[in-house]
Each structure stands twice: as C-alpha cells, then as structure tokens.
C-alpha cells in the first residue's frame, strides 16, 4: 500500500535526525567521559593513560567517600521528610477547607522558584536571623549559624531542599487522593475504621502508585543536588557538604582533576542506574501485590 510506504518514510525521516542529535549530545559525551576516566587529564595540556588507577583511587579517596556519604544521607532524609510532610499537607488540602484553590496555589510557589536564589535567601536566614532567635530563646543549637557547624550544615541544606521539593510532591499526592472514591470511606466508616487505621488500610494502599512516583522523583532530584550547595555552603564547612555533583564540577572543572572526576562521574552514573532500577522493581512489586 502506498500510504504505508509514505508513513514509514516520514517516520524514518523524523527519527534519524532526532536520534543523531541525541547521540551527538548524550551518548557521545557519555562515551568520551568514560574514555577520559582512564587518563590523568587536567582539562588542558597533555595527558597520559593511567589505566584503572582513577577507579582504584575513587575507593580510597576520603573526599569522594565523604561526598557520597553526604549525598546519600541528604537524599535519604530529604526524601523521607519531603514525602511525610507533603502527604500530610496534601491530606489537609484535600479535606473540606475554606479557600482550597488559593491555598493549593500558595503551597506550590516554592517549586517555581530557582534553587540558587532561594539558597542565597536561606543562607542569610541561617547566618543572621536564626542565631538571633536561637539566642533569645536559649536554644543552643540555633545560637550560632547552622551553616558553620559540620554536624548541622547538612541539616540546613535538607531544610532548604525540602522547602522546595514539598511543593511538587504535595500536588502529586493531591491528585492521588482525588482518585480515592468517597464510598470506600463510607464502607470503612460502617466497619468502624477511623483515624490512623483509615489512612493505613484504606487511603494509603490506593495512592501507592503516587507514593512510588514521589519517591523516585524526589530521590533522584535530591541525589543531583547542586544549586543549594553552591548558594549555601560551597561544600563547607570542612568539605562536609560537598555533594557528588558539586565535587565533580568543582574539582573536575577548576581543580585540574578532569580525568579523575570523569571516573567519579561514571561511578555516579552506575549508582543512579542501580538505585532507579531497584526503586522501580520494588514499586512494581508493591503494586502487583495489591
């Protein structure tokens, strides 16, 4: 049939340039990065092949280990806090309240604002506003800047990260809660199911797919954290808040470790893939069980 031929040709005509573009700016640099990871390239000048040395170094480099530790604890705490808080807010926003749409609109604002500028604003709060409040209330932890202390700086970044991420997750949970039919609660009410059990046995199972989306989304975003670090701490104090992305950028681009950080980036890529695959399989299993 003539039409079929035309169809196939048009599709091919569309697909080839698109794939070419994709290969050129995604696959090719990925491969190049992999190749650089076997060199001691500084980013300029000449370089030598060093075999697997960069990879061996990755596992003995305290700074790299520290950045993975920071990134993971940040992502984990961030994901948990974000999901708990946004689920609570979403249930509130989904209940019978006044000014529903206005409130929903307001709770989404942090999501549209840029992470860098928000980081700068919070940096001021942590350095100048919170200590004053802490001192006047006599709260020891708050009486000095949270950003200057190695044990609290990462929490400060979690707070800023959550402040922004909650907005998005809340909206997704709301759309999930709206799919829960009213009569389920009525049936539950007849059986005398209320409060926590109502949530655990009735609501939550029904919004599991949305829970899954939120977990994957926020985990991925938290793992890639960069803007907030740039604005709040630049990796300090004492390199305690260097995220993986920040370390790769900082040492790879300006620190003369182009080759070594390429190896780090490749490891990061593998880690992301593994985490995503695990998350998806777990979520799929959960959904199947229901």
């Amino acid at each position: 049939m003539r039409g079929d031929k035309d169809r196939e040709r048009t599709f091919l005509l569309i697909t080839i340039p698109v794939v070419a573009l994709f290969i050129c700016f995604n696959t090719l640099p990925l491969i190049k990065g992999f190749i650089y990871s076997f060199t001691n390239f500084k980013g300029y000048g000449s370089y030598e092949w060093v075999g697997l040395r960069n990879y061996a170094d990755l596992f003995t480099d305290a700074r790299v280990a520290k950045s993975y530790w920071f990134t993971f604890k940040y992502a984990l705490l961030g994901t948990i806090l974000t999901n708990v808080i946004s689920l609570v807010i979403a249930m509130g926003l989904n209940s019978k309240i006044k000014g529903k749409s206005v409130l929903r609109g307001i709770y989404f604002i942090p999501n549209v604002l840029g992470g860098l500028v928000i980081g700068y604003i919070f940096s001021f709060i942590f350095t100048y506003v919170l200590p004053v409040i802490g001192q006047s209330l006599g709260i020891g932890v708050l009486s000095s800047s949270m950003l200057s202390n190695t044990s609290t700086a990462w929490i400060a970044i979690v707070i800023v990260g959550c402040w922004q991420a909650i907005a998005m997750n809340t909206i997704i949970y709301i759309s999930g809660l709206q799919t829960v039919p009213e009569d389920i609660y009525e049936a539950g009410a007849i059986d005398g199911v209320t409060g926590w059990r109502k949530f655990k046995d009735l609501t939550f199972p029904l919004i599991i797919p949305f829970f899954g989306i939120n977990m994957v989304l926020s985990m991925k975003n938290f793992l890639m954290v960069f803007d907030q670090i740039m604005a709040l701490t630049k990796g300090g104090p004492s390199q305690s808040t260097e995220s993986i992305s920040y370390l790769i950028y900082n040492n790879g681009m300006s620190g003369g470790q182009f080759g070594f950080q390429s190896a780090n980036a490749f490891l990061f890529f593998v880690v992301i893939v593994v985490i995503s695959v695990v998350q998806m399989t777990v979520m799929n299993k959960k959904e199947e069980q229901l």
């Binding site: 573009l21 989404f108 840029g114 604003i121």
Partner: protein, 283 residues
C-alpha cells in the same frame, strides 16, 4: 456523587484550614524578609531581628535600580527568555514529532522499540558525567553559547518528553488517522492537522515542565557559557555575588528581581502549570 448528597454535608474543617494557613507562613516568611531587606538601606540593618524583618523607614526602589545596573538585568532576562522560549518551542516540535514517529512505529518495527528504550534510558544519565566532555565538544563545534545551551536542553529533556508524548498517543486511536489516509492525506499532513492539535494537553505539560527546568537551571549555562560575557538570570546572581560584598540590601533586591518574572508567570498561568506538572509526573 449520589452518596455525597445523602450523607451529612460535611462542614468546613476549620482546624485544618487554620493549620494550613499557618503553614503558609513558612513559605511567605523568606519571601517577606527578602522584600523587606531589599527596600532598606544598609544603615537600617541592625544586628537584631528587626533589622531584617521590620518595615523599611521609607520605601525605596533605589536598590533595585542599582541591582539592575550591576547585574545587567535586562540582558540577563533577555537571555533567559530567549533560551527558555526557544527550548520550549523546539521541544514541543521535535519531541512531539519524535514521540509520534516512534510511538506509531513501535508495534510494527522492533528497531523503534530499541530506539525508544535507548532515548528513554537517557533519563538516568546525570548531567555531571556529560558536563566535562560537553564543554569541550560544544566549544569544538562552535556552539559554546546560548544556541549550544538550547541544543543541550532539547537533548536533555528528550527522554522524558518523548516518553510523555508516546504515552499520550496510545489514547489517540489509529482509526482517526486511517480515515484521513483514505482521503489521501500524507503522514506529515496528518500529524500537523490532526494529531498535533489533539496532543494539546500534552503540549501544555511538556511546555510547562521544560520551561520550569530551563528557567531555573544553573549548571548548564554555568559550564557552557561562563566567561563569554553572557548571563542568564540565575547565572548573573552567581557571578555578581562577590561584587555585592556585604551589601545585603542590594543583593536581596537582585534576588527579588530574579524571582519576579517566574512568580508573575506562575500567578497568571497557575492552573495550567499545576495541571501540567501533575500530568507529567503521573503519566
């Protein structure tokens, strides 16, 4: 619906309403503080909390004027707009076409399945690993500039957008196209006259998602365009950070300026934005 009617019409849940309104304070507090500081003079910044939070002695926009000058605001805004608009338009056109071509061919042709998986798997590639080779590559190709940044965005958002378009297409029955084909329309024409308009909801989603990520992105323009004298809005904040010194009033005026465009856009298109985001995530 029926059940709603015969049940006791539930009363407004006031405790929850009040709690939620109080919760809004955590969102407004930083913004309120930023506005207050940006209106004040350095001499009003006392070391106690009122220095940051009280109303300014007199409302002055002088800081804004100065911040506009220092950060070359209009040029940065222009660059941000150009990059965002171009990326959104190209994404809707290219990714829509790609989603259509790939989505419609997948059942018939195995190769398209592989191509689809190949492109979608790009979602797992963190920018960090592409960053360094891309800096070299864009320079060698002569696109270490705004155009290069746009091109990169079109590639970066391709996996998600193609997936979204392909998913949406499964809801459009092939029969509609068959009818047009019988009338002798070419595939190209069918796409633009029938499919493209039908995918409108997805265009909105793609546009919103792409626009928001592009507008707020720091890292791509940072590594591709730094040192070229061209800034995007976030990049301008980063580059001029040290020049503000301890003049926080000036710095905050600049922050507010950087936030205003997207806030305005949000206020105007709030509904579309929220719908778009939800669609994108849930699909």
């Amino acid at each position: 619906m029926m059940s709603k009617g015969n049940k006791q019409t539930r009363a407004v849940n006031w405790p929850v309403t009040i709690l939620l309104i109080l919760g809004c304070l955590t969102i407004f507090f930083p913004l309120y503080m930023a506005v207050m500081i940006s209106m004040k003079q350095p001499s009003e910044m006392t070391n106690d909390i009122s220095g940051a939070l009280s109303l300014p002695a007199q409302w002055s926009f002088a800081n804004f004027q100065e911040a506009m000058r220092v950060t070359d605001f209009w040029h940065s805004l222009g660059n941000s707009l150009l990059i965002t608009v171009a990326t959104v338009v190209l994404s809707v056109v290219i990714h829509g076409l790609a989603g259509y071509a790939i989505g419609r061919s997948m059942q018939k042709n195995k190769i398209y399945n592989i191509i689809y998986m190949f492109i979608v798997s790009g979602m797992f590639v963190p920018f960090a690993i592409l960053m360094m080779p891309l800096v070299k590559q864009t320079a060698q190709m002569g696109v270490a500039n705004r155009f290069g940044v746009i091109l990169l965005y079109v590639v970066f958002y391709m996996p998600l957008n193609v997936m979204l378009y392909k998913g949406f297409l499964t809801n459009i029955p092939l029969a509609i196209e068959e009818a047009a084909r019988v009338d002798g329309a070419s595939t190209w024409k069918i796409y633009w006259t029938i499919i493209f308009p039908m995918m409108k909801p997805m265009h909105a989603t793609v546009a919103v998602l792409t626009a928001m990520s592009t507008w707020n992105d720091v890292m791509t323009p940072l590594v591709i365009m730094s040192g070229t004298g061209k800034n995007t809005l976030p990049l301008a904040q980063l580059n001029f950070q040290t020049q503000f010194g301890t003049n926080y009033n000036l710095a905050f005026a600049s922050y507010i300026l950087a936030l205003i465009p997207i806030l305005l856009f949000y206020v105007i298109c709030q509904k579309q934005i929220i719908n778009g985001v939800v669609n994108g995530a849930v699909k």
